[in-house]
Subunit: 574 residues, 2 copies
């Protein structure tokens, strides 16, 4: 007899399971339920619809060959039955039934049998607990209905100012969408002391923050929203933070999501720390006849070993394929995630995989970081752009724990991170693997000693005790809180402005003169060595050490990253 | 006492060894010799200098911070002694000496001592053995002098037509350089039946060939040059092939390179099949005091297990670092290469790693390929472009053997290949690893089910016997040599032109109607199923098979690749 497969949720994972299963098992009775009438869409595309990159919302529901993925499409093309506006109310595990409600048929209820059940209920944006988070025009962006409503309001000219609460990926993408096409005056408010706090360390996140600011997004970090108020006589809102009050016409809440697992909880399925459904590598819940995946399930972080939520359409799709294979009697495993992530921030690409330094420390590692600043292709190639990479390893084991990268050419940034991400997933990736990483080389796309290899080389030098470093964020803190001096080994002309500003705290000896001017280097105090990127300053440091001047720190990323971290570090006295 | 390190060759590996060694060992006496007076340059940038992307040849000799890497630079900045125009004549292994000749000092000879010797003599372009290959204006492109001479001649307007012999990377890059900036009428002649025969399989190489042709480069494959003749009364040359005679003003020889290992051979060092120096993983030759690397050494291909020549500046740099570490008393290994390669061909990026299908078969594997054609980012994202990927695995072990990719956005092409390349190098990469590859996802950079994952998924389906395929090259051959018919499951309008051309050999049943029109599908003959990309035709095939129609082949890459393979496949009868 044909197996009955019931799938709750028809956005990403649900349809993937259904279609793959149909291809493997032509006999199975497959039914997908969704309480919405719009299904199978690319929710991650919403900011690009709102920002105008995607003109027509149908684009987010269409296949590569322009077919709209609606009920009819699934029926005729995919051979899969989808019931829209049908809500799953309760899972009766003993009976292997789900009680459902037909929302368009007077809320008629029905019991549906299953042999295997798939929970693909996704996650919902959190409405934070401060007063006013449920006011009109305080929006979440969870589905295409929300997207249309927001875009309509902006297009009507009703939004001059907006506040985005939460500087995670969706918050940043929404801020870009509002600012870039519509010229909405936008402020992002973030509780943490940096943007993208779950994804990036401080050094790289600062680059992202400056990118936002340079594109007219106001960024407030370390800021708490206390309340949102609505004017009595108009639609104007006021976001009250612990430092100021911001009037605006629209608030977008992007303070994270919460898995939709109430139905699973009520059925007694095991849930994890984050409230997500716990699954094994075959994506089975604690009931072997019930699978779960996508944004409602917790997955293993393969670096920390801990569970996490990682709500990404890409993971949902991979998991969907695994579930379909397993339901059809095969064996396929989803091992977990290494937390690979990327985002476009205006004309800049940001990408990461693994843990940040802070997360690594929390997970019990002893993280050591390299920060490199180098052209993303042969530096002599005309389109080359600077890329910054942070590579993180465990001191003792030399195991790579994470990588973060940022640069103007997003695909090139992604290329470096993806190459490391795929190694991270093997569980065996150490610093030497990155030094020797064999990625494609041709001047239009890479350097002979590519930025990614150099990220490994620098880390190797640090771990071997050859390169005593300080990161730009740490340098700025120490420089401002002490009277420590900088040895700038760049050319004389480049050192002129900092010398004007910092006087004798700024010593300039160009690298090619250093060997002959060693007597000018103070030996009785610690010295920060600086160049443009951290490369020549490292070489200079080696020369100093060889000559007995050992109390030095090489500023990683050099002046290029200091500028980004503190735009007014060099402020000419007129 | 300080170690004496002598390095022969100062282009890529030599300087890398010297500089790294100096940083690790401040005491060592390091001397680098080169018979040329121009050293440490990015030879791979030559085509971009000739093509005008790089205006000034100094750019190829300069650091990221615009210092020219000449003798003085190495002395003052790097602390390394470089002797230019000094030729190494003989290695006296017993005495641990090298006999050298000072080319600018009346050819004075001298014996130089070494504790460790590094051979970094590189490779030289082959002048093929046909008559005329040594005529004036029949050029090789081996160093900056050659580059300047060629560019000068073109800039003087003396080159209207050119012939490039050899369609490897340098041949293609030179053809682009000549055509793109200078409008030189250029023909590439290649003995093999495709361009980039060492790098790519036939399906992807055809895409590259069309790209060249669309940019006005004439490509002649399966063609042998028999002779080059020079006119008696002018500088005009005639390239005589086995099919025609081509008049031209310049011939560029790019028929491969040969390692410069005469000095190693005379010293009795072990050489390999290709005449390259044999080295172990520490990059030591058969004499433990002599290291070798770069284009003069053979390296292991980690997929085939065989030795190969892989003359790339990127590998030379990585090897140089390894050598320096080992000479200084450390332990560092260069395991070999997985053959990662990339090239820009006009506005198209091409990248590969591992073996081609043909190479895999020769190495004793049973290769199976998937070919996918998909948007390189979310298909709804405006800048998305089609990318083609071929993924190759061994049938029995499911081990990944190679990947080839091509698309308009080169960095994105490279991202996919590099992610697989880094896994290939681990020696443990199977099809499931590619299905589950966790690369970064955001609509501006990737699809939720990314093209690289789909390359794995399709290959999995093929290996599981669910997708019976034929590649475009194979399809066209069979279609033209038989009366086999095509079932086109695209929309009616897309099938109109092929039906005009091919009449009842072309059956159109749109995918969404297939389940209801199964009776129109012939069951007594084999059927090729086609859509735009191979995705819907696979789904259609699944439906056919489920209904007992099993004698079908799904055309991989679909119509998008057929068009590229045979531009006039659809030729309307007017």
């Amino acid at each position: 007899m044909a197996k009955k497969i019931l799938i709750i949720g028809a956005v990403a994972l649900g349809p993937k399971v259904a279609c793959r299963l149909r291809r493997i098992d032509p006999e199975a009775e497959i039914t997908v339920l969704d309480r919405d009438n719009v299904i199978s869409y690319g929710g991650c595309g919403i900011p690009y619809y709102i920002g105008g990159d995607i003109a027509d919302i149908e684009g987010l529901r269409s296949t590569q060959s322009h077919a709209v993925r609606n009920q009819k499409f699934f029926e005729e093309v995919k051979g899969v039955k989808v019931l829209c506006e049908v809500e799953a109310l309760e899972i009766l595990r003993k009976e292997k039934q789900v009680r459902v409600r037909y929302l368009t048929e007077n809320n008629r209820e029905e019991l549906m049998d299953y042999d295997k059940l798939v929970i693909a209920t996704g996650a919902s944006p959190v409405r934070p607990p401060f007063p006013g988070s449920d006011l009109p025009n305080v929006c979440i962006v969870a589905n295409l209905h929300h997207a249309e409503a927001i875009k309509k309001r902006i297009a009507q000219g009703k939004v001059g100012k907006a506040v985005v609460i939460g500087a995670g990926a969706i918050g940043i993408e929404m801020a870009e969408a509002l600012t870039d096409l519509w010229g909405v005056e936008t402020t992002i408010i973030e509780m943490a002391d940096q943007v993208l706090p779950a994804a990036l360390g401080k050094n790289v996140s600062t680059v992202v923050q400056r990118q936002l600011e340079e594109n007219n997004v106001k960024v407030m970090v370390s800021t708490r929203v206390k309340e949102i108020r609505k004017a009595e006589d108009s639609e104007e809102l006021t976001v009250v933070t612990d430092v100021n009050e911001i009037p605006c016409d629209l608030v977008v809440l992007s303070a994270g999501v919460r898995p939709n697992t109430e139905i699973a909880r009520q059925a007694g399925l095991a849930l994890g720390t984050f409230g997500g459904i716990l699954v094994d590598r075959r994506m089975r819940s604690s009931d072997p006849d019930i699978y779960a995946g996508g944004d409602c399930a917790e997955i293993r972080n393969l670096i920390s070993g801990e569970n996490m939520m990682m709500p990404l359409g890409s993971l949902a799709n991979r998991q969907g394929r695994v579930i379909a294979t397993n339901i059809s009697g095969g064996s396929s495993h989803f091992k977990g995630t290494v937390g690979t992530f990327c985002i476009k921030v205006f004309e800049m690409g940001v990408s990461k995989s693994g843990l940040t330094s802070q997360q690594a420390a929390r997970a019990g590692f002893d993280p050591v970081c390299s920060i490199v600043s180098q052209a993303d292709r042969a530096h002599f190639y005309p389109s080359s752009q600077v890329m910054y990479i942070t590579l993180i390893a465990d001191r003792k084991s030399r195991r790579i724990l994470g990588i973060e990268a940022v640069g103007k050419m997003g695909d090139a940034v992604k290329a470096r991170v993806d190459a490391v991400a795929s190694l991270l997933k093997t569980g065996h990736c150490d610093v030497d693997d990155i030094c020797g990483l064999e990625t494609g080389y041709a001047p239009p796309y890479a350097s002979a000693m590519d930025v990614i290899n150099n990220a490994g080389n620098v880390l190797d030098n640090i771990l071997e005790g050859r390169n005593a470093t300080i990161d730009p964020v740490g340098f700025l803190k120490e420089f401002h809180n002490s009277d420590i001096r900088v040895l700038d080994v760049r050319d004389k002309v480049q050192a002129e402005e900092p010398i004007k500003r910092w006087g004798d705290r700024w010593i300039n000896i160009p690298q090619d003169q250093l060997r002959n001017r060693l007597n000018e280097v103070p030996t009785d105090e610690p010295i920060f060595v600086l160049c443009d990127t951290g490369t020549r300053s490292y070489e200079a440091q080696v020369v100093l050490v060889a000559n007995g001047i050992t109390n030095t720190r090489n500023i990683q990323g050099g002046f290029s990253l200091i500028k980004v971290n503190e735009a007014n570090f060099i402020c000419l006295v007129e």
